[in-house]
Amino acid sequence: MMLVSSLRRASHAPWFTSMVTVVLLVIMLLAGAAGYDGFLSPQVMLNLLIDNAFLLVVAIGMSFVILSGGIDLSVGSVLALTTMVAAFLLQHWHWPPLLVMVTVLLMGAGFGAAMGAMIHYFKLQAFIVTLAGMFLARGLCYLISIDSITIDDPFFTAMSQTRIEFAGLFISPSVVIALIVLAVAIWMAHGTRFGRAVYAIGGSESSAMLMGLPVARTKVLVYAFSGFCASVGGLLFSFYMLSGYGLHAQGVELDAIAAVVIGGTLLTGGYGYVAGTLTGVLILGVIQTLIAFDGSLSSWWTKIFIGALLFVFCVAQRIISLGALRGKPAGSAKAAPVGASAGFSKLS
């Protein structure tokens, strides 16, 4: 009984879902180690990071958007657009790589900022604006080129092939970049006014406004940051694949959302940790690795497992939030009847 009541009390703490994710990750790693030889070898673990560095960056951008109570379905397409634009600028216009990188980063941020402005100033729903943005970005990809454009620029090639070695193990520069982005994001989330404003807006946008926070600026910036991260992810991806292609990164936005949710961030906003996203990405990677190691399960199971995890986490989040409501006095606002604000109100 003590366990149940202390568990229930713990479930109200903000770090609870993130802690559950870490426990889940550990369990999965142990299960993998028990089931398959060489699963827990350090290089296998590092390969997780190498293969998913781009997803980590994209998911970090998505974390901020979701924390603010919104959603961004365009990140996968912006990633692809970034690879395409970069490849085009490098291969066809022969721009220097540094200029190319700066350009695409600005493009990603600008794309995101435009969507953020539409969402905030015209009160449009985030999911439809970013869904349309997703289509726009991918369409622009194909407009530039239907086929893939191979990148042979020396800088990109170097980034693709470099191995940073230490203690007999290696990682790619992308991993370093991704971890730097993570560190910066964590600092932003907990140490800057912008980050706290994001949490405040996710908790209650109306209160944030009344408290004098720069809601408009923050919301636009949050989507700009997401677009920026999508572009960074695009660059990392183009280091990995050395090509620009419209078919790159299909469904990455869903993976990013899954990573964020599984990492413990509530989809309704305001609760969660950016660090949790790392755990979420690792879990997604572990699922994929487990399936690869198993060999008997086809890779389609990855999607099903991710969907199942997403389901469990979403339902659990919902139940916890309902339970929290039941403790409140009668007439407290949020327990809306079915369908009431269950539409899109939170995602705008």
Binding site: S206, M211, Y271
Partner: protein, 517 residues
């Protein structure tokens, strides 16, 4: 050291000659208000009196059409809540309006964090927050914990602390006690007294009579957008206060008499005795919302609920309709025990409910008048037993005729009708279900006199034909006139049941005020 009330010559905040109209309707007419430092000044008034408009003018949400606002001697014209806050006018709302997911310390300091090396200095934030709460409000809590983990009373303290930390000169508390229990109210009052001692000018908006007399130094009463007066609390008895809030003017008296005469012919004093009991409630209530109450409603009888705003009238109606769930007591309808968990249960049992908030809970704005009228009837019939269009038209046009609903035609979207006509249409919705009992919550609010008459005439006629009516209204003369029996409520509990004729306007106000006749 207590500032003696009235000793300060100059008010900290003074409004004078404030007029405000919305779309031609006057919300405030020549209203003034004086807030002195070191005083708790309570603003009182019924629904529609202009309280919230006045607050909004003070806090910069609305710009007054005419009038002056002076803060500490200087004229100000805040254009937004932020500006008002910056000037020193801070408001703590009923719903607290903080971020529940952030910590207590963050809610106090957000937007104004102390920084170190470009990073927020959390140690300093937490230390300062703890200090603030201890010094100003004498509460010691874990400021790093999430705001939502604390009960509403503590959250309000945090909101007050935030207001204070932005150097408020004037603190406005908008109905802070509505969701608090007795102990929490006392805690809040302790804090307010301390702040008062420190020289803060406090504007306290409430509708609880007892609390007003407990905490206030000065009272301003608003009625119908006009300032009835400003009084020192020692100079105003409860009866006088209630009189000022809802008192009937000389003009109204005549109307009331005329109306009463017109109805006298239609009313039969014996009708109440003859009807069978439709609904019987024993110990019916909900914790924190309504004290357990016994109730007996008979067919053919109008049962009125009378009391000031916030006394629990709507809460009782919602419980009887299943819109909220009761947690104590038994309900019997026509002898059978029932549990009303959802409105559908109540509707199936023959109860109809005309809500007081017709915009949010009544009208389906884009649907037509006809659709709105037949909606509840159709819902009861279910999905498949569709009312034929002819019959719908018949029902709708009948009620349009009987209630005098002014509409271009039956297909006009109800949102285009005036408030009064919308109300009539919603009334028609429930009448069309031929309920055994009809709950009417403020059915005549915001409606012109003639429409009021039409509605009440019709309701009473339906009643005499065998319906039980639960009638709730803020207009006491109306409740007195129409009810066969009446329950008076004060501060969420009943303070007496009376038959027609036992109370008149003066005595009912006495009961409400809690003073002996």
């Amino acid at each position: 050291m207590t500032m003696s009330v009235g000793a300060q010559a100059r008010p900290m905040l003074e409004l004078s000659g404030v007029h405000k109209a919305f779309a031609g309707v006057k919300a405030l007419t020549d209203v003034g208000l004086r807030l002195f430092p070191g005083e708790v000044h309570t603003l009182m008034g019924q629904n529609g009196a202009g309280k919230s408009t006045l607050i909004k003018v003070l806090t910069g949400v609305h710009e007054p059409d005419q009038g002056k606002i002076e803060l500490d001697g200087r004229a100000i014209a805040p254009a937004s809540t932020l500006e008002a806050q910056a000037l020193g006018i801070s408001t703590v709302y009923q719903e607290v309006n903080l971020c529940p997911n952030l910590s207590v310390a963050e809610n106090i300091f957000i937007g104004r964090y102390p920084k170190r090396f470009g990073r927020i200095d959390w140690k300093s934030v937490h230390a300062q927050a703890r200090l603030l709460l201890q010094q100003q409000l004498q509460i010691d809590i874990d400021v790093a914990a999430q705001l939502s983990s604390y009960p509403l009373a503590i959250q309000q303290m945090v909101a007050i602390s935030r207001a204070l930390s932005v150097s408020a000169k004037v603190l406005i508390l908008d109905e802070p006690t509505s969701s608090l229990d007795e102990a929490e109210v006392q805690q809040l009052f302790k804090v307010l007294r301390r702040l008062r001692e420190q020289g803060m000018a406090i504007l306290f908006v409430t509708h609880f009579l007892d609390q007003t007399y407990e905490i206030s130094d000065r009272i301003t009463v608003l009625r119908n957008g006009v300032r009835e007066g400003e009084y020192l609390v020692a100079d105003l008895s409860r009866l006088e206060l209630v009189n000022k809030m809802v008192g009937v003017t000389a003009v109204d008296h005549r109307k009331v008499e005329a109306g009463a005469e017109a109805l006298a012919s239609g009313l039969s004093a014996d009708a109440a005795e003859q009807g069978e009991v439709f609904l019987q409630a024993d110990g019916f209530g909900r914790r924190g919302v309504l004290a357990p109450q016994d109730l007996e409603l008979r067919r053919g009888e109008v049962y009125g609920l009378c009391g000031l705003l916030g006394s629990g009238r709507t809460e009782m109606a919602r419980l009887l309709f299943g819109a909220d769930r009761a947690d104590s007591g038994q309900l019997r309808i026509e002898g059978r025990a029932v549990k009303l968990n959802v409105p559908r249960d109540a509707i199936a049992a023959g109860i109809g409910f005309c809500s007081e908030d017709r915009k949010k809970e009544g009208a389906i704005l884009e649907l037509s008048v006809r659709e709105n009228i037949i909606l509840a009837l159709q819902a009861r019939q279910g999905l498949f037993r569709v009312l034929p269009r002819k019959r719908q038209n018949q029902i709708a046009s009948d009620y349009v005729k009987w209630l005098g609903i002014k509409t271009a035609d039956l297909e006009t979207p109800i949102g285009l009708l005036s408030g009064g006509n919308q109300q009539k249409a919603l009334l028609a919705r429930w009448l069309a279900t031929d309920p055994g009992m009809l709950i009417l919550d403020e059915p005549t609010r915001g409606i012109d006199v003639r429409a009021k008459q039409e509605i009440m005439d019709f309701v009473i006629a339906m009643c005499r034909k065998g319906m039980a009516i639960l009638f709730i209204s803020s207009e006491i003369p109306e409740v007195l006139r129409c009810s066969d029996r009446m329950l008076v409520l004060r501060d969420r509990r009943a303070c007496g049941e009376y038959r027609r004729g036992e109370l008149d306007e003066q005595t009912v106000l006495q009961v409400i005020a809690g003073e002996a006749a």
